[in-house]
Each structure stands twice: as C-alpha cells, then as structure tokens.
Symmetry: C2
C-alpha cells in the first residue's frame, strides 16, 4: 500500500512553511501506513497536472492538500480533473453549504466562492465545518484520491473526521510510539546516554523499533516507535524502553507527548496550590505568553510585569535605584530584587525574574549578548539567581531564556513534592 | 535546468515542520531557477538511497538537507555515497574543524562527532560557522549535489555563503518580487479588490507575472513576482502593480517584505517620538512579546502589565473595584480603565489595553468565547475602546486579538502623522 502526499501552493516553494505534510505523516504512521513520499508543487497548472498524474500512477492512495479556496490561484480542482481525464460539475448541496457558511456569519457570499462547489465527476464530498471549501474523495481505477483544503485547521478537521475512518480499511499492523521531552542536557549528551539503550533494543527486536532525536531551543525530544502485529508485545517493548530512558536521563525528562515546559510547570503549580507572578525584562512577555497559552492558566497565573525600562523596574518591582546604578539592569543583584519585588507586590506564592541582553546591540566584553540572569523567589524558600550565556540571535536568546526559566520553575516545584 | 530539493528526516514525515524547503525555494526563485519538486524522505537508509538516486537521475542540481549530525539517525552521508556508488573518507581538515568547535566552547568533543568529518569521495567541503556538520558539494556525472545540515540556521548560513555564489552560474534570467501585508479586510474581500488589477496585468504581460494571496491570523499577504530577461521592464511592471494595489487597498496595507505589524508599529512609535505601555489580560503577554521581539524596541517600549487576575487589574492599573463588580473583567468600561490606568502609571505616551475571553472555558451567551475589548489611551487623545468577536481556538483568539491591537496602535499613530 503506497501512499503519497502532494501539497499544492507556490507559497510552499517560496517561503511559506508547510505543516500539512507533517500532520498527515503522523496520522498515517498511527495506521502503520508508510508514506512513500511527500511532494510539494506550485500553483502552476501544468506542473500540478504532471505531479498529480505521476502520484496517481505510482501510488495506491494520493492525498492532495491546498488550492481549493475561492481565489484566482486555487486551481487544484481543475488540475485534478485534467490529470484524471475527467470533468467538473457544480454540486448543488456543496453550493448551498458554502452559501450557508456566509449566511451564518451575516456576510453576502462573494461570487468567487461559487467555484468552491465544483466537484470532480463521481467524487464524494467531505463537509467542512471550519471553512468554505468542501473536501472530495475520488475512487478512480483502483486508486483513492483525497482533495483537502490547504488551511491546516480545515484540513485537520476533515482528515480526522472523514479521511482516517476511510483509511482504517488499509490499516497495516499497529504502530505505537511515545515521545519524551528533555531539558538540561545537550543533544549529543542525550544521544550518548540513550545510545546503549537503543542499541540493545535494536539488537533484541529484529528492527521493529525506530528512534528519532531532535533539539529545539534547548528542548530535546526523543521519539520511539514500535511496529508490528502484536499490540501487547509492542506496548511491552515501549514500556521497557521508556523506563530505561527514565533511568538514564532522570529528572531531565520533563514531560511526554503533548506536554510542554509551560504545561508541566502549570500542572505542578496547580498540584501544589501555588500561584506565580513574573518580572520579565529581556524575554519581553514571552514567558507570560507561554504560561497563559495553556487553557486554565488563570488558576495559577497571577500577573506579569514586563519591566523593560529601569523606571518600570523601580516603580513596579521596587528594584533599588542604587542597585541599578551600581550593577546595571543585567546583574544578579537586579534579578534578585526583581524576583523578590514581584513576589511581594503580586501576592503570588512564587516570583520569577529574567533580565539579560537579547541583542543584537547592548553587549560588552564583560556583559556579552546572551547573558541572562534568572531569579526565583517564594514564601519560605531562599531566593536563587542563576547566570546563563545563551547562544544564537535575539529571538533564540529570548526563547532559550524563557525555556530555561520555565525549567527553573518546574525544578523548584519538584523540590516541594519531596518535602 | 531542473533543481530538486530533498529533505531528510523521519521527523519531517511525522509531526515536525519543514522550513528548509521554503527557504531554499525562495532563494532559487530569486535566481530564476524553477524548483521541479521538493521531496521529503525519512531516515531509513533504503528509502533515502532510492530517493537520492531518483533525484540525481532526474535533475541537474539536487540539494539535500538533513542527516549530517552526530547521532545514530544521521546517515545521509552513507546513503548518498551508496546512491552515487562511491565511498566515504575521513577529512582531516573537517575533523580539526569539528574538534575546534568544541574546543572553542571548552567542551570535550563527544566521539560521535567524529562521523561528521566523513566526506563523499571527491566532495568539496563547505564550512559551518554555526554548528559542527560541514556541508559538501559533489560534482558527479554532470550533476551537482549539495549536502547541507538540517538545522535551519546552519543550512541558511551555508546556503547564502556558499551555495548561492555557486548557483549564480546557472542563473536563468531575473525574477523580482514584492510582498504586501494587509490588515483590516478578509481574504475574499482583498481578492475581489485586487482581481481586476491582476487580470489586467496578466492580459498585458504575456504571463511573466505571478501572484499569491495568503491569510494568517487576519493578516493577508499578497505576493507578486515578475520573471523575464529585462530587469528594467520587470521593475517597472512591479512598480505599476504595487501602486495599483495601494490604490485599491489603501491604508489597509500596513507593510511590505520583512515588515510585520509589530515592526511597523515600532517604526511609527519611533518616528513620532512616542512610547507605549500595555495592559494585557487575555493576550497574556503576547503583544509585549511581539513588540519586544523587534531589535531596538527598548527605545519605545516602556513596560507591560499582564494583569490576569482582577487583583492585578486593581492594584497595578487602578481599575475600580466597582467597575469590575458592575461590568466584569471583560467589558468596554474595564478596557477603558485599563488603558487609562497603564497610561497614567507607566508614564508612556500611549497606553493600550486588551481584555477578553480566549476560552475554551469562560464563555456565556452574552459574553461568548472570542469576545475581546481593546482600548487605546494617550496624552491629548480621546480614549477609544473597540469590541471584537474573534473566531477560532484559544491561541487563534489570542493571536488575532494581538494582531488587531497592533493594527489599532498603527492606525492611531498614522493619525498623528496627519496632524
């Protein structure tokens, strides 16, 4: 069973990032289906027709995303019809659905949107609850072709609701996996620790396990998967692997699967009935943004002060003028007063501060770009300030500092668990 | 001249987003080179070898990214050697460079990293100033194959410094383009406005212009490109198009090219010698994060208070207890007091507030999820509060509210220009 994904969009070949291929690949993986290839093609009709025809010739299932919108560059419908040497028809039901989408929002339907009701002859329609373009399922000469819209939210909803149930008939064995997230070690160091585990797994299982390791802004993700026919055996293999990874990496593993540093910090704050407030300088609100991106964060997130100017550090956080004059805004002493200041003025049970030089300007030999101090204060705990020098450009430094700060919150909360 | 990009990485077929293809596509586009295809392949050696051999057979130039790292799943070097039926050699210079990378950071080189000094026989090396894996240029039977590392920063630096100069020998005519960014209109409405302009351009130029239109969190990007041999003609065609787009879209165009809502807001703040302070609730620091992600923002960004709790709204911003009791945290009156409160307490010349319901919980019939009030206050201007209902999930609502707030700042600053 060969499956290909074709993503349509000139923008995907010229600057726009493609998230659909990754999403579909992950879903297929869960069905034990191998993705033979993922091809991206631009909006030019001749190129599209060639790629579609080639993909249909060489695969059993072809999933095409993009180019179903109402605008002038949305010509997937026409190119697929040509590639399959068939025609297009306007579907009355689809037209009504597009019209209803606009009626529901009290907007008159632009005439362009009528094109979205055109379907490949013989296709079955897939409803779109998020946008206007319906999807299409085409069974053509023992092949199946799916047309799905390009916007990820529309595509994902249709994939999960309509494509996955259809594809289950082709499910090939099972594939299980887990992902562990690590913070506090470099990628090579993680690799060295887990390599003996992986090698012994590979030696024992005859090749049914697979591993990837990926680093992003100091977070290392380890993904392990196990393929086979015996679900219990796969579960057991993965359970053993996971416990081995925990044994060699310990508390550096901060979460699994959909967990993030911010969601884990939030869970721990909830669990220990703590609230948090932030005093951010160089991270500019990024830590607050990450923490509050988690649904339900209003339970533990009290407030943040993004004190970019010295005046704000003094007025909002009670940092002493003398401290700033003697040590500057980027200093351990300032981070300490910021953490203790936000703790005191917010009424939260934990206060975290970040001050540093994100660059590109502002660095000196003594205080280089990337220098960041992170402080944590709390009721009944000793205030701690740590010094870091993060590599990268301005936004790398900001993201690394934010991740480091979230990990500091996490590790501090873990010490509460032990008390 | 056919060019293919092959991106290596199981993770790219199973959840990880691929940004390299987009970057390379954009660079090739500037040289007038067409990307024939972009193929993604996993880390399995047999699949890689097949795809590499196929890409080399069907193209003149093949650019391969990923799989040059030190870890167990980095096997691009080996698979390329097999696909080309040649061998690998350890390069003494490359080994010294990898070693030096670690020495420079005072870290002992992990033994894994030695593999990064292996090169395809006859390849020329490309230095890596950002990471440890050198790139390789292989001239093989009238084809050129580039091996580049997967991490975007390493790949991009090598591409611009070494691959682009090499590819200039194949430059095919010129291709120029511009991108306009629009806020304040829907995608279909923008399409209707610009369609006559595009149609008349297409009718006149014999097909040398190309257009895409893309929406993301209410920002609409229009990209126009012009291909040809005559640089002056292309420049003139694009200049006419651009002025036509400005004519039909007016002040809804907020920027061009690398500009963003936050960078434009920053430029205008700078230009009018204004400073800004924020009182954020449902956006949770996102607007502060966006504004401070711009280098140099400390010139105009004073501070932000992320007042998630009612206590913080009262204590930090002077919102009246009675206002919160009578209208709730999500109300025009509260947004007004937040904007005026941050203006007064920060000493900035403009104060912006956002309060709303990002969901998923907390919505009612009267105040649904997505309801957001944005207030703007300033010295000598009348405070204004606008009401919005944004569609989407929690993080869509947060991002849309943040973009809307930045556009409100921008439009307010534009009125200063007219005074």
């Amino acid at each position: 069973m060969r499956v290909a994904v074709v993503c349509v969009g000139t923008e995907l070949l010229a600057g726009k990032v493609n998230t659909n291929a990754a999403f579909i690949g992950e879903r297929l993986d869960c069905l034990g289906l191998e993705l033979s290839s993922c091809i991206t093609v631009g909006d030019r009709r001749a190129d599209m027709e060639n790629v579609f025809a080639g993909a249909v010739a060489g695969n059993d299932i072809v999933i095409i995303t993009g180019g179903l919108g109402p605008t002038f560059d949305d010509i997937t419908r026409e190119a697929v019809a040509d590639a399959l040497k068939t025609g297009l028809e306007t579907d009355a039901g689809a037209l009504a659905a597009v019209r209803q989408f606009f009626d529901g929002r009290g907007i008159p339907m632009p005439p362009n949107n009528e094109r979205q009701a055109q379907v490949i002859s013989g296709a079955r329609l897939i409803g779109n609850r998020v946008g206007t373009a319906p999807g299409q399922i085409i069974e053509h000469e023992r092949r199946v072709i799916f047309l799905l819209p390009g916007p990820p939210k529309e595509m994902q909803q249709m994939f999960d609701e309509s494509v996955m149930p259809y594809l289950r008939q082709f499910e090939a064995g099972i594939k299980k996996h887990f992902t562990l997230h690590v913070f506090g070690m470099g990628e090579s160091a993680v690799d060295e620790k887990i390599r003996p585990v992986i090698e012994s797994a590979r030696a024992g299982d005859g090749g049914c396990t697979d591993f990837t390791i990926l680093a992003h802004q100091m977070i290392i993700d380890i993904k392990a998967s196990c393929r086979g026919r015996d679900e219990l055996l796969a579960d057991e293999t993965l359970a053993v692997l996971k416990s081995e990874f925990y044994r060699v990496l310990g508390g550096n593993i901060f979460g699994e699967g959909a967990q993030s540093l911010e969601s884990v910090a939030g869970e721990l704050l909830n669990k220990h009935h703590k609230t948090i407030a932030l005093a951010e300088s160089c991270t500019g609100g990024l830590i607050a943004d990450k923490l509050t991106s988690v649904a339900g964060s209003s339970l533990y997130f009290r407030e943040a002060v993004v004190a970019y100017s010295n005046e704000a550090k003094i007025a909002r956080l009670g940092v002493k003028h003398d401290t700033l004059a003697a040590h500057g805004a980027v200093a351990a002493e300032t981070a300490r007063e910021m953490a203790e200041g936000i703790l005191k003025t917010s009424g939260a049970s934990l206060g975290l501060s970040v001050t540093g030089i994100a660059g590109p300007g502002g660095g000196t030999a003594e205080k280089p770009v990337g220098l960041v101090f992170i402080g944590i204060a709390g009721h009944g705990i000793k205030t701690e300030v740590s010094r870091f020098v993060f590599a990268g450009q301005r936004n790398d430094i900001r993201h690394r500092a934010a991740n480091q700060a979230l990990d500091i919150i996490r590790r501090k909360l873990l010490t509460f668990a032990k008390k």
